[in-house]
Structures are given as structure tokens and as C-alpha cells.
């Protein structure tokens, strides 16, 4: 195949129309979709060929065939380009070009004897309408999500960032079935090193084909061993615009409704654009809530396991009686009990995600009520643990990024095992291991835990908490954007009266 392609990259024109037809048909063997029509007009043979379902038939008829066949001109390539009322005309000489472009819905016209074929883009693309974001839903703020069409996505991005500074570099990825990827950044702000790194990673990628942006992310991430995502994947255009205008880089992939945002810090996975739309104090509260939620999600069940297996001393006496009484009926050690229950919760979540929405809701109720209460009555688990497990599952879903949420849910399992075998000491081992691991990670070469490590005081108000906008007039300094200041603090805080 590759050899054939190499051969076909030579100019094949001029060629007899019949011969061209044969060649094309041989390429599309067993493929009845190629429309190859030969017209005789003014004693000249004109071939028009395209793939039936990839083009708008009405457009082809009205704007191409009608002028072509009704006029009494003797067509040559310049005439076609001038007189056909379509603006996308181009000449193509190489067979390889023709084959590639016919597959994305171009219509080719070849007048026998001419040195090239002329193509027009009349592609028809089936696409879904813009819908609300589903994995990252917001209460307040823009609701629209990216779709599978890169043209629509770029349209949305442009509408979000009206700037000539915005660069949308086109990179094709995939050897066998190339796919369009766009590298998007603001020229005057984005750090050049970051842009170059990203561009190089994209260009150096030699793969057969690209399935989705999340797959691309795995190909180009700094470390593929870790469970933590290093790039933020978002389906929200407002988040995309927010990140790009702060000097980071976005990547859009054709046919993928999620964009990649890089570089990202660990903390950015717990930020939601809603924090910005809320007032700053509410935003800070929500952000803290999410940080507490991770701690609960990772450590609450392990703490229960450690306390009931090793450290009954730390339980307050009243609580001890409650826990002890509910534990008395359970025949398993706490570690097994906790793993079982966490497993059930994961099962429910997975089933809920896979099933159609309507059945999914039913499963939620069945899981919550039937399995929950029945498990206690059957003596498989204690009441107390059900609350803890439900709480930590709930907490893990507060993470705005689904990938990060999943990562956090998974690290809970080794944590439980550590807590059940080594108690609190084991949990500390686990936490230390996690922190060391996070410290070693990087995102596009930038430290994953910045601005906490390496510490940067002026960046904390963009990660750990939020301040009024007049105090947040700088971009994220850890990523060294070309232009650090977003706006003048003095101008922003100055109030102009109406009569001034």
C-alpha cells in the first residue's frame, strides 16, 4: 500500500478520461459509492467524480453541473475556475491528492487533455446539534459543549476569543487515516517553549490513526505510567477560552468533543469555571469544598478500616459503641467489608454509566435502597460503613474533571488495603507515596504541583482560593506567560461616576 502511494504521488495528467475512470475504479474496488460520470460537451469529454453520500447532491446539480453543461463554452481549467459560481475551486495534479480529498467530500472535474483536475468542496457532513455539556455540567455560566465537528468547535472558540492573536495551527496526525488536529494558543501570551514542546510532540507522533482527543492525550503526556491525567480534557468552550486567554495551550481534535488543555497543575483539576462565575468568596468556598472532598474520598473509608482493625483508641467512646454494635453482626474483617462495599459502589456507578439513561436511574434506586439496606440486614456490612462509603463516593464526584475523579476513586482501593494491613502507619505510607509521586509528575515539562511546589505565593490565589478580581489581575506566573499582567489594577479599581 505504502509503495503504491509513493508511486501515485507523481503527476498523472493529462490522461484519457476512460483511463482515469479505470484507475479510480481500481482504487475503489468493491466500492459502489464512487460516482464517475463522463459528459460530452462541445466535443470534449468531461469527467465529474465524487463519492455520493459525502457531497450535497443539490449543490452539485445546481452550481456545478448546470453551469457546466448548459453553457456553450469550450471548457478549460481557467474557465472552470472563473465561471463556476463556487469559491473553493482548486487544481489538483496528483492522484494521491485526489484520493485523499475525494474522501472528505470534494467534487472533481476533469476536462480531457487538461494538465490537472479541478476540485470543489461541496462536502456534506452529518453532525449533531450543539447540546449542553454532560460530563462537566455547570449551574451558572455558558451551557454549550463542544461537538464532534472541528469546524463547529473552532467556530465556537473564535466566538469566545475575538482576537487576531489567536493561532490555530493545523497538524495532521495519523499515517493511514490522517485526522486534523488544531494547536490553539494566543501568540502574544502563550509561553513559546510550551507551544514548541506541544507542537513537537504532536508532529513527532507517528501512529496509524487517532481515535479521540483522550487517546491523543495519552500519547503525548509526560508520564504514561501514572494514574493521574496530566492534561485537562474539557468539553466546555468557556473553560477552553478561559485557559487559552490565561496563556495556556489548547488542542482540538477532529471528531472529538473534548479539547485538551495544557499545561495543567494538579489543582486545576479541582477548579471549575463556575468558581469564576460565582462571587469570589463563594468561589473560594466551593474550591475548598472540593479539596476537602478529595481528602474524604481518599481517606475516609481507609480511616474506618484502620480504626476498627488497629486503633480503637481513637474512636470516641459513644461512637465506639455505635460502631461496635453495627460491626458485631458482620462476619468479615473490616478490610474485606470495606473492599466489598466499595466494589459494589463501583459496580453501581459503572452499570449506571453503561446503561441507557432510563434504566440507569432505576439502577441507581435499586442500588441505593435495595442493596444498601439489604446488605446491612443480611449482615454483610455495617450501617456505619455504608454511610462512609456513600459519602466518599459522593465526594469523588465533586471533582469537575471526570478523569481525575476516576483516578481518585481508584487510589482509594490500595489505600484501604494499606489501612487494613498496616493501620494508620500504612495510610501514612500511602499518603507519602502519593505526595512523592505527585511531586515527580510534570505537565508539558511544568511541575504538576505548582504553585505549592515549587512555591509561588502570587499564584496561590488562582489555585487554592480566589480573591476579588481587582486582586487577581495577573496570569499564572509559574507558567511564565509572555505577558503577566491581565489588566491594570488601578484602572480596574477606579470607579467612574456617570457625570465624569
Amino acid at each position: 500500500m505504502r509503495k503504491n502511494q509513493a508511486k501515485s504521488s507523481n503527476n498523472i495528467f493529462p490522461i484519457k478520461v476512460d483511463k482515469l475512470k479505470k484507475q479510480m475504479e481500481s482504487r475503489f474496488e468493491n466500492n459502489p459509492d464512487l460516482v464517475f460520470t463522463i459528459y460530452e460537451h462541445q466535443k470534449k469529454k468531461i469527467a465529474v467524480f465524487y463519492i455520493g453520500y459525502l457531497v450535497e447532491p443539490e449543490m452539485v446539480h445546481n452550481y456545478l453541473l448546470k453551469p457546466l453543461l448548459t453553457s456553450d463554452k469550450t471548457w478549460a481549467n481557467p474557465d472552470i475556475l472563473n465561471d463556476i459560481p463556487l469559491s473553493t475551486g482548486k487544481t489538483k495534479e496528483k492522484l494521491q491528492d485526489i484520493l485523499q480529498n475525494i474522501l472528505i467530500g470534494e467534487v472533481f472535474i476533469y476536462v480531457e487533455g487538461e494538465p490537472a483536475a479541478v476540485s470543489f468542496i461541496l462536502s456534506k457532513k452529518e453532525k449533531r446539534n450543539l447540546t449542553q455539556a454532560e460530563t462537566e455540567s455547570l449551574v451558572q455560566g455558558p451551557k454549550v459543549a463542544f461537538t464532534e465537528s472541528i469546524a463547529i468547535n473552532m467556530n465556537i472558540v473564535r466566538w469566545n476569543i475575538h482576537s487576531t492573536d489567536l493561532v490555530l495551527e493545523k497538524i495532521m496526525i495519523g499515517e493511514r487515516a490522517p485526522r486534523e488536529v488544531r494547536l490553539i494558543y494566543l501568540k502574544s501570551i502563550a509561553n513559546e517553549t510550551d507551544v514548541n514542546t506541544m507542537r513537537q510532540r504532536l508532529k513527532d507522533l507517528e501512529i496509524d490513526q487517532l481515535e479521540d482527543s483522550s487517546v491523543l492525550m495519552q500519547y503525548i503526556e509526560d508520564s504514561s505510567q501514572t494514574i493521574f491525567p496530566q492534561f485537562y480534557s474539557s468539553e466546555l468552550p468557556d473553560r477552553f477560552a478561559y485557559t487559552v486567554t490565561r496563556g495556556r495551550i489548547g488542542v482540538l481534535v477532529e471528531n472529538s468533543p473534548t479539547a485538551i488543555l495544557a499545561p495543567s497543575t494538579f489543582f486545576s483539576f479541582f477548579e471549575s469555571t463556575e468558581d469564576l462565575y460565582m462571587r469570589w468568596n463563594a468561589g473560594t468556598f466551593l474550591r475548598y469544598l472540593r479539596f476537602i472532598a478529595i481528602i474524604i474520598s481518599v481517606l475516609l473509608t481507609p480511616l474506618y478500616v484502620a480504626a476498627t482493625t488497629f486503633h480503637y483508641e481513637i474512636i470516641p467512646t459513644q461512637e465506639l459503641i455505635t460502631i461496635g454494635e453495627s460491626r458485631a453482626i458482620v462476619p468479615f474483617p473490616p478490610i474485606f467489608e470495606a473492599l466489598l462495599l466499595e466494589f459494589i459502589i463501583e459496580l453501581l456507578r459503572e452499570a449506571g454509566a453503561r446503561l441507557p439513561t432510563k434504566i440507569g436511574q432505576t439502577i441507581g434506586i435499586v442500588g441505593g435502597i435495595v442493596i444498601g439496606t439489604a446488605a446491612v440486614q443480611a449482615g454483610i456490612t455495617s450501617n456505619f460503613l455504608i454511610i462512609l462509603v456513600a459519602l466518599s463516593a459522593l465526594a469523588s464526584f465533586t471533582t469537575p474533571n471526570y478523569m481525575m475523579g476516576t483516578a481518585i476513586r481508584i487510589i482509594r482501593f490500595p489505600m484501604i488495603i494499606l489501612a487494613g494491613t498496616l493501620g494508620m502507619i500504612g495510610m501514612m505510607f500511602g499518603v507519602c507515596f502519593l505526595i512523592i509521586h505527585l511531586l515527580k509528575l510534570s505537565s508539558l515539562g511544568r511541575p504538576y504541583l505548582s504553585p505549592v511546589y515549587p512555591f509561588r505565593w502570587e499564584d496561590l490565589n488562582k489555585t487554592l482560593y480566589r480573591l476579588p478580581n481587582s486582586r487577581q489581575n495577573k496570569r499564572f506566573a509559574s507558567y511564565r506567560p509572555k505577558d503577566l499582567i491581565r489588566y491594570s489594577k488601578r484602572k480596574a479599581s477606579k470607579r467612574k461616576d456617570i457625570d465624569e
Binding site: F310, Y312, G324, R327, A328
Partner: protein, 367 residues
Amino acid sequence: MALLVLTACVPTKIIEKVAIINSYGIDAAEEGQIEKTIIAFRFDDEAQNIATTLSGTANTVRGAEEDAANKTSFTLKPGQIRLVVYGKEIAENGISPYINVLVRDARVSSMMYTAISTGTAKEVLTAGQENTPANIGQYLQDLIEKEIKQNTIPDVSFFHFTHALEDTGQDPILPLLGIRDNKAALIGMAVMDNGKYAGEISLKDAFLVNLFQKNIRDKPLEVSISKEPFSDYIEGQLQTDDEQLHISTLITDGRTRTKMTDVGGLEFQTEVNLKVNLYETSEPMRIRDEKAARLLEKEMEKKITKQYEQLLASLKETGSDPFGLGNIYRIKKESGKLTEQEWDEKFPEVTVDFKVNVQLVNYGSVR
């Protein structure tokens, strides 16, 4: 990581497999041995009550525990001990030998309480258990804790107790538990001398000790004073034949300051400043003017001074110094050193000049 793998399994203490000691009592047994009565939680789904009572006899506290453990299928574990009761007989001979087992064990909370019982500890713990719906150890602990929170008695948690016990210039006091109406109750405070039971004081006196030691806020106080001076203010007919006028007040702010006026002569001076609100009088009284209020203040001052003096006199007899006068003496003393023995000899000779100053802030209006 290799180290983690190489270590063997850590012994587990799953809560439903162990009996967690909640409280225990120490009594004297025959031949110099001690009897330990343990109330422990065990989480057995077949048992009605989670609290179980065990007892064992041996020469040491731990030995007695081993003995008691032979009578149950659960492993006995400390770590949640909330109350330790010493029988009077044991306490009279000194509880120090039985304290060190608690001090040594890191699993023992320093927030627990130690107490002395009027009879045997077993009596308090078992009789109480039968008549208290909740677990008796928990009940007694809550009781003591409540009294401390309400400032009725000084803080006697294990931490403060051991501190006072080791301190040469101060002697600890402990709650005295007894049976009242077939129920375990706090009936007074036991004063200690050199780790031995030396005598008891009433809860009223315990409050005076507490007031001496720290600032008090929002504590109700009942005082009985002579009715005579108030005959002008009492309205209408006398309601009772009682010669005492009982008044109930709320101390909104109580402070004491003690200084040594004469180091050689062991003379102390204690200022007690009380700001009180009048709540209730046993006779309907009209406090029309300042004069009546001042009179009331004066009578209260007299009464409280008398109470303090009586308390000090009885403490001198027992030889126990819960006030911590010895510490003040040690600070003032030139060498700055004081031995337990030295203070034992000197304590009966101290004189304290109590200056009580009551200020009636609000007395409400009677119309």
C-alpha cells in the same frame, strides 16, 4: 518498599474481637492482694448488653487483669479506659503503686478520671451497673465531666491529678463516689496527702477550692445567711420559722488572688472577688435601695469568709493542701526548693487571711 514486604503482618485488634476496658475498680483482697473489677465493652451480637463485668485477683493491676481475662473469650484491651475507681481501703494505704500502670501505658488517655469510692470500688461499679440504664463507667465519667464543666469541682482529670500528685506544693483531690438511693453518685471530694486518702470535703467546699484555683464564670451559688439583719426588708409575714435566709445567686465573675504577706510566718492573704446576680431568696424581699444591697453583700462576704476558714481548718487537720499554698511558699522561699516532707510539717501552721469581696450586680426588681 522491600521493607514493607519483609515485615510480617501487624497483629490486628478488630473491635468486635476484643473487649475494651471502659472502667475498672481496685479493691483490697486477702493476703495483700488486690481485686480488680473491670467493666468492658465487647461487641457480641448474641449478648444483650455490650458492657460486661469481670473481676480478677492478683498482686498487681496487670496481674489481676490477666486473671480476669481467663473468664472471657475476648482479649482485654486498655486504650479506652475512662474511669478508674479505688476502694477506700486501698486509698487509705496509698494509690501511688496502682497509678504507675496508668502513667506507663501510652494507650491510657490523660483525659480520663480517677476516683475514690466510699465503700469498695466493686460496689460502686456493680451496684451502679444494675441500676443505671447506661454503662456505669460512662455514666460516672459523664457525671464528673459535667461537674467540672459547671465549675462545681476542680478539674480532676488524670493529667491534673498526676501533676498535683507529683507536685510537692500541692495535693490532689479526687471525686468521691458512693451509693445513694441504690445508684452510684458523686457525694463529695476526697483530699489526698502523699497519695493517700486523708479525708473528705463536701461538694460545696470543692467549689471553694475550685474558686481558689481559677476564675469562675456563670456558676450558681447558694448561700445561707442569718435572717436577722434583713427584718426590715422582708415583706409581710415570715414564711418559715427558719432562722437562716437562703439566697441563690449566680456568680458572673469570680476571681481570687493569693499572695504571701509573711514568708517566715507562713501568712497568706487571699482576695476573693465575686460579682453575683441575685436569683432567689427564701423570703420575699424588697431591695429598695443600695443599702439593702450592701447589707446583703456584707452578709454574704461574712458567710463565705467563714466557709473558707472552716475549710482551711479541716484541711489542716487532714494535712492535705489542695489549694497549692505550698507552691506559693516555694516561690517566695529563698532557696526555691520544697520537699514533700517539709511542707507536710509546715502546712498545719499556715494562716490565710481571706478577704471576700462580693458585688451584687443585678438583683432584679420586685413590684
